[in-house]
């Protein structure tokens, strides 16, 4: 706005008219962390800290710095919301359109040299029951060179025998789906905690364990769990075939920690 125009507007707004519509705008800074999906891959030797967390209190900045990003396909989205939240003022909402190639995923990614062993956790809120006829992924690990990233582990939702949604783990390296011996349905409309323990190993010394609300659902030991030195950890919402199509998952208090 030209100084003269600004001055006139200022005089009018603060003068005799006192129009609320004239409220002056004061810009006091620039958000230096606008979430974007174009975050480059930093130094590939950079280790990912074994203690990290975000509650989306500063939007998605904790993902952007130091190593990570968030993304959504054109017809999907991710935003912060004030309700529901697990803690603090904000949580993240990942909205997708299942089956739509331009809208079936919205996620945030941490990347780097992953810890040798760590617990990867997140609080999820599923607002409504859905029928899943494809892949409904909550947590995804992949690794490898930039030109050859491949999947390592998935934590996903499947409908159980009675239609309830249950957590399962998929092992990409062995092509195996691990299901709990005693399935535990996830709660609908209530926050629940999903945590995967992953001890990375290129030989048969690796280990994974899945916890739901601190309850051990399944555990696999003495197996190859990683064949890469650099990886990515995805948290969010990816759905290939859901009824209904539109799906929103809320996520809060995402953590990496070395002990429980």
């Amino acid at each position: 706005m030209a100084p003269r125009t600004k001055l006139i507007r200022h005089l009018v707004c603060t003068g005799v008219l006192w129009l609320t519509a004239c409220d002056e705008e004061l810009v006091v800074g620039k958000w230096a962390c606008a979430a974007s999906d174009d975050a480059g891959v930093e130094d590939r030797t950079l280790p990912l800290a074994a203690a990290w967390s975000t509650g989306f209190e500063e939007q998605f900045c904790d993902y952007v710095r130091p190593a990570g990003y968030c993304y959504a396909e054109p017809e999907a989205s991710y935003t912060v919301v004030t309700s529901p939240v697990h803690s603090g003022r904000f949580a993240a909402a990942f909205r997708v359109k299942a089956g739509n190639a331009d809208g079936h995923q919205a996620r945030c990614v941490r990347q780097g040299v992953l810890p040798t062993a760590a617990y990867y956790g997140a609080w999820y809120f599923v607002p409504a029951q859905a029928a899943n006829a494809g892949l409904w992924n909550l947590v995804h690990f992949q690794g490898g060179p930039p030109s050859g990233l491949h999947g390592l582990w998935d934590v996903s939702l499947e409908n159980g025998a009675d239609g309830d949604l249950e957590l399962v783990v998929f092992d990409f390296l062995n092509g195996t789906t691990h299901k709990p011996n005693t399935p535990v349905p996830i709660p609908i409309g209530t926050w629940f905690h999903v945590e995967l323990y992953w001890r990375r190993a290129a030989d048969a010394t690796g280990q994974v364990a899945l916890y739901q609300d601190d309850r051990l659902l399944l555990e696999a030991k003495q197996l190859v769990t990683d064949d890469t030195s650099w990886g990515q950890w995805y948290v969010g919402n990816l759905a290939s075939r859901l009824t209904p199509n539109d799906s929103t998952l809320y996520v809060d208090d995402v953590t990496i920690r070395s002990t429980r």
């Binding site: 129009l19 002056e24 004061l26 006091v28 800074g29 620039k30 958000w31 500063e58 003022r89």
Partner: protein
Amino acid sequence: MMSRSAAPVELGQRRLLLMAAACAVVFASKARADNLDFTWNAPPQCPSKIAVQARIRELAGDAHTSTARLRAEATVSRTARGGLHLRLVVQSDDLIGERELDGASCADLAGATAVNVVLLLQSLQPQNTEVMTPSAPKQAPTASTRPAAIEAQPPSETSTPRAWRVLLRAPLASASIGLFPQPSVGVALAAGLQVEHWQLLAVGSAQLPQTLPALAAAATGARVTRAQAGVRVCRDFSLGAFGFGPCAELAWHQVWARGEGRYVMPSAAKGALLAVGVGAQARWELAPWFGLVAYVEASWHPSRPRIVIDGLGRVEPLGAVALAISFGSEWIL
């Protein structure tokens, strides 16, 4: 029935005259100070009754020409304009003399009381009624039981006390809620004139900085400092040493804001808003030159700056209405 015709007197202009008259009284006749039943009603900061009595004895001397019992009652009170007023009544049998004086200090009025008691005592003696102030009209007591009134001062000496005074209110502590999300505190001052019962004051205040949180991110916001200047008009109603009254105010608020937060590249900006307010004040004059004052005001801000962080959005908005209170010292010049 008692008649009286007393006029306010400005002490500063006549102190010498009164003292001269007192001296004349003392040396011309013997007052009856020891037979005096003296009552002294005055604010706490005034000289004591004992001090005034001592002054009366000093002026009147210790001899006695009469054994008649005398009674004098002096009452000092605050005036509507903050000054002091003395009402002095002296009675001997069925004779009554009365004077009223205005003054700026209690010490002056205490001295004047002593002088005037001596004067009135002397004037109540029939043989000495001529010993009034040189130009005072004489009025001899009548033989009837109707009390006589004595002109305290000649009309030529009557003057009106100053109708205006300068007010300085500082320092004042201030607090407000409503404009900012959290209560804010600061300091304030005011200066102006009081003419009759109206006060016109220029007011100013500054508040401690406060962070207005961003609506879309935690631990992020704008640090805002505010100062204001304005004009206030009050109508003052006095009840002795106390005063109260309604006020209206028009003020200009200046705000300085700067973004803050881990992911904010901050910049500074400033803006302004107008405020119209109504309020009430209460005053307590502890002395003619000093008092305490408290002020409470509700204000409306029809137009307010919107503070934003580029790329993130607005911070908590400024409120449209606010309630403020201030209190502190008042200096009367």
